[in-house]
């Protein structure tokens, strides 16, 4: 397409990459936390629940700022990670981290809800057949909550595609490295007459996210049907 400059294409590609990884990397932890919140009771459960929801409650800028303090190269976690070669600051990985953190509560909520809907009687049946807890989870619970996981993942992906405040505060806006679609859109909106360009990018972002949404809907429906066994 002619009407997107190379830098804008870069932003599109980067947004996709960031959202994809934010979602993918967040999933295992999301499933784990959702399972813990849904099925276990342990001291500090409500605190964990609170922490998970924090990014939703706080203005994104604050989250970004806290990320900067924690995962920046001078931050307590950031400096540790740096020693083993993991750097978030001013990298696309940082954008993914920010997007992942911001979308995490959405993911967890969706997955948790679907875990709560699984009939423990089926898990019991699997256990009587000799499946260990781990296996029960992998072979019964996980497939049954797949629609919930997909729903959570879509939600997270969509959120990641739109995430702006935390991302720019944490990793700022470096074209080609951390300039995602939302930051590009924001930039256009800051200047008089930039609406047109902004809307072009909005369109791209809508098309991309909607396609992902449609695909995942189809996938989710197919899986839900499998799971319902119809």
């Amino acid at each position: 397409m002619e009407w997107l400059g190379p830098e804008e294409w870069q932003a599109v590609a980067l947004s996709l990459r960031v959202s994809f990884w934010a979602t993918l990397a967040g999933l295992p932890l999301g499933v784990f936390v959702a399972y813990a919140l849904a099925r276990w009771s342990f001291p500090g459960k409500q605190i964990l629940n609170g922490i998970v929801h924090l990014p939703l409650i706080l203005p994104p800028v604050v989250t970004g700022y806290l990320l900067l303090l924690t995962f920046g190269t001078r931050g307590p976690v950031g400096s540790l990670l740096q020693e083993i070669g993991i750097v978030f600051a001013f990298r696309w990985t940082g954008a993914a981290l920010a997007a992942g953190v911001m979308s995490f509560p959405l993911m967890v909520r969706a997955i948790r809800l679907s875990i709560e809907a699984v009939d423990p009687k089926l898990e019991q049946a699997a256990a009587t057949l000799g499946a260990s807890r781990m296996w029960v989870f992998v072979s019964i619970t996980l497939p049954l909550i797949l629609p919930g996981i997909i729903a959570g993942a879509i939600l997270a992906f969509a959120k990641a595609m739109g995430e702006f405040g935390a991302t720019i505060t944490f990793v700022s806006n470096i074209p080609g490295e951390t300039q995602t679609l939302p930051t590009a859109i924001y930039a256009f909106l800051q200047v008089p007459g930039g609406e047109g360009s902004a809307m072009r990018l909005v369109l791209v972002s809508v098309v991309v996210a909607m396609s992902a949404l449609f695909l995942s809907e189809i996938l989710a429906r197919r899986i839900a049907r499998r799971v319902a066994g119809i």
């Binding site: 600051a89 720019i168 505060t169 700022s172 930039a187 909106l189």
Partner: protein, 231 residues
């Protein structure tokens, strides 16, 4: 009566003092809505109940003026500002000029600025670096924040060793030091224009416009590091 002022977010502290003093002096209340200049300007385009607009960006004021949304006679360049080069922690002063080895000072690290094509402080900074011939060398190293304060935070946390911000912001933290001031002629003049919004016949507005020129107001702005340009 109440005067509703839409003011650039960076003016928060000053506007607070001004608001109190205006109330003391006239008995009128001031409601100040603080947001990015772009958001405020667009809201005025959509009929926001603002009596007065103070923008951090002359461009947006021009845009409103072109659309007849402000009263041109009331437009004044209220405040001025200066952009400075800051460094993390204690650092030696440098001379800002074409021979400044900014890339060398940065090394592998980033220069924190506000968005160089979108946010006023960034636009001014980029213009200054360009006119000094430094831009091309540092451009790939620039980390652009969505506003000046975020750029400042990057330097304050040490994430970026250097940054370009307004002098007014630089005063805020001792985690950074100002190591140089950009020559005023290296960038377009930094001004904060103010103007009354059209169609709001609020008599208190002219009182407030007048109040902005008083010593009380001037002191409040200067206390925050602004250069008061009015009169």
């Amino acid at each position: 009566d109440q005067v509703t002022v839409f003011a650039a977010a960076s003016m928060k502290n000053a506007m607070q003092t001004v608001s109190d003093r205006f109330n003391e002096a006239t008995g009128h209340d001031l409601a100040v809505s603080l947001a990015g200049s772009s958001a405020l300007a667009r809201q005025i385009q959509q009929g926001a109940p603002a009596d007065l607009f103070i923008s951090a960006n002359p461009g947006w004021m021009d845009a409103l003026e072109k659309e007849g949304l402000i009263v041109p006679e009331t437009r004044v360049d209220l405040l001025g500002n200066v952009i400075v080069l800051i460094a993390h922690g204690e650092a030696d002063k440098v001379d800002i000029g074409p021979e400044l080895d900014l890339p060398g000072m940065l090394g592998e690290n980033h220069l924190a600025m506000a968005m160089v094509d979108a946010v006023p402080a960034g636009i001014y900074g980029k213009a200054a670096l360009k006119s000094l011939g430094l831009w091309d060398a540092v451009a790939p190293k620039v980390a652009q924040a969505d506003n000046v304060r975020a750029a400042l935070a990057l330097v304050a946390t040490g994430e970026a060793p250097l940054g370009i911000v307004y002098a007014t912001d630089a005063a805020a933290t001792d985690k950074i030091s100002v190591i140089g001031t950009f020559p005023a002629d290296s960038h377009p003049p930094i001004v904060y224009p103010a103007a009354a919004v059209t169609g709001r016949d609020n008599p208190a507005v002219s009182e407030f416009l007048a109040f902005l020129r008083t010593l009380a107001a001037r002191n409040a702005f200067e206390a925050q590091g602004f250069i008061v340009m009015a009169d």
